[in-house]
Amino acid sequence: MEEKLKAQKPNPNPNPKTNTAKKKKKKSEYEFCKVCNLNHDQGQRHKYFPSHKSSLSNFLSRFQTKLSDVRFFLKNPSPLRPELASKNRFWCVFCDSDIDEIGSSFACYNAINHLASADHLKNLKHFLWKYGGGMDRVDAFRIWEADVAKWEKKCISLKSDAVSSSQGAIGPEIGPLNDIHNENNYGNIDNFENSSIQSVKSSLSNGVMPLQYYTNEYQVSHSGLYEATNVGMFAHDFGSFLPAETCSDTNLWNLKDIRVNRNSQHSFPYNSYSSADGSFSNGRMFQVHEDEGIVKGESSSHGLQNLARISTLAPEEARGNVHTGAPPPWLEATEASQIDAPLKPAAGSLVPLNKSGKSKKLNPKRVGAAWAEKRKIELEMEKRGEIVKNDCDANWLPNFGRVWQSGSRKESRKEFEMEKQKLLKLGSQSEIPIEIQPYVSKRMRTEAGE
């Protein structure tokens, strides 16, 4: 591995002179610092440099966010669909290896196992030693065996539940989408179901508030909608079914999870939770897949915990909301007047209106920029037929730095104008012709005189 090569000590200084002159400057071979992404010959000193320290903190925090996703699944195991497994890869920076989820039945299965493994721990420690991360942070980047055991138990229970309730077309392969993108959604549902505030708080960070209580309205209103489902969901408490769309299948599992926790005594496999919940949590997914009948508008209004429920179902249904991709109300008015196409940013639409061929902005610092802009405006006004305030007279002259003048150009122009005026004045007077007389020397004069 590369790391092992880097672990070699740098060569001692071959040059005896510099050794005596400066002890500190050891010539070392070039190593590659994974954190700073550069080659350096500073050897062991590199990890103490401030630039390295800041890159290290960035580096580790980035990895931490990815780890937090994995930890989420550690707490809330959810099954993983094989088709989506290939998308779920996890790169462990300490082990320099890719951990994919192909063949794993649960989300982040391999990742969790990897993070708990002894090899990973070893690599992690080595990394922290090498890059100076602080050995107290080891625990932040690994998973304890006890946690893994708990997680496995949960997985097993999930599996057994899945097997026992084999009604309908839900086969083992159908499971919730283990999209990392939609992890938040799952988080919401699951946290929702754990009636612990902290889980709610964590889900808050996802930006979506989970439903804290049933919304009977949903069930009532949608009980009739989801009649036939291939899934064969049974809504014991609520008369709603989820359609057996692929995306909704993901909900199934979520709901199942919810059910498991929520009605702790029951073991309803697919208590179709209020569709609102599903739709709410997977609002994005629903919208993407455009499942019909899935509650779209209402969910947003019911999302907040401990807040008065906004019971304006009917009007919202008609208009739709963010989840359905409907335009915001303030834009609807303008939309009607403008194109119906999705609104583009204003800047984009202005680009073709610019002067032809002017793809880049002219340097504002160029010579005479201000004057040019002014002049352009004047020309445009002229084109439009407006009267242009022409403040140039016949005596206008450009600012010209003259040859024999020193000082600024304005000055030289003024000088010239003064000269011009003098000339004009003098022009009226007749010039006294200057006679040029040849030089006559004294001797010549005396000779001429004699």
Binding site: L362, N363, K365, R366, V367, G368, A369, W371, A372, R375, K376, L379, C392, A394, W396, L397, P398, N399, F400, G401, R402, V403, W404, R409, R413, F416, K420
Partner: protein, 151 residues
């Protein structure tokens, strides 16, 4: 070879107008005798004009005309052909190692020299410089002696 007709300016107002109307392009004003087209186009200025037309416009100024004398004096035009450069109504100077930086005196040895000079002016102007240095080697710069008031 198609000759690119260059505008010949004979009046002050024309010069004014062209200086004010050439925006974001180098304006090359060549002073010379209109009666002697050879003088004006010694260096194939018309051909070169086309090549630089994207960032420069060239015009000829006839110093024989009376109305132009103001400009002739203003620009201290002592030699012909003289070429003065403007950008956005600002006069551009070029230091070519000669005595007079305010204009280019003499003809260009090669067409490419002219293009190089105009390009140097353009680049400097776009960067906001009012004086640029000449890109040509010394031997290709016409030499002259600048006399002060015919002294």
């Amino acid at each position: 070879m198609s000759s690119y007709p260059l505008t010949v300016l004979t009046k002050n107002q024309e010069v004014d107008a062209i200086i004010r109307d050439t925006i974001d392009k180098v304006l090359v004003l060549r002073f010379g005798h209109a009666s002697d087209p050879v003088c004006l186009q010694l260096d194939d200025l018309s051909k070169s004009a086309r090549e630089v037309s994207k960032f420069a416009s060239v015009a000829l100024v006839d110093i024989d005309s009376n109305e132009i004398q103001v400009y002739v004096k203003y620009f201290d035009t002592a030699f012909i052909p003289s070429t003065v450069f403007f950008f956005n109504a600002h006069h551009m100077k070029m230091d070519s190692g000669t005595a007079d930086h305010t204009k280019w005196v003499g003809a260009f040895h090669k067409k490419q020299d002219f293009i190089d000079v105009v390009e140097a002016i353009y680049r400097g102007a776009m960067k906001g410089k009012l004086i640029v240095s000449c890109p040509l080697p010394l031997e290709r710069i016409p030499k002259y002696q600048l006399l002060y008031k015919d002294v």
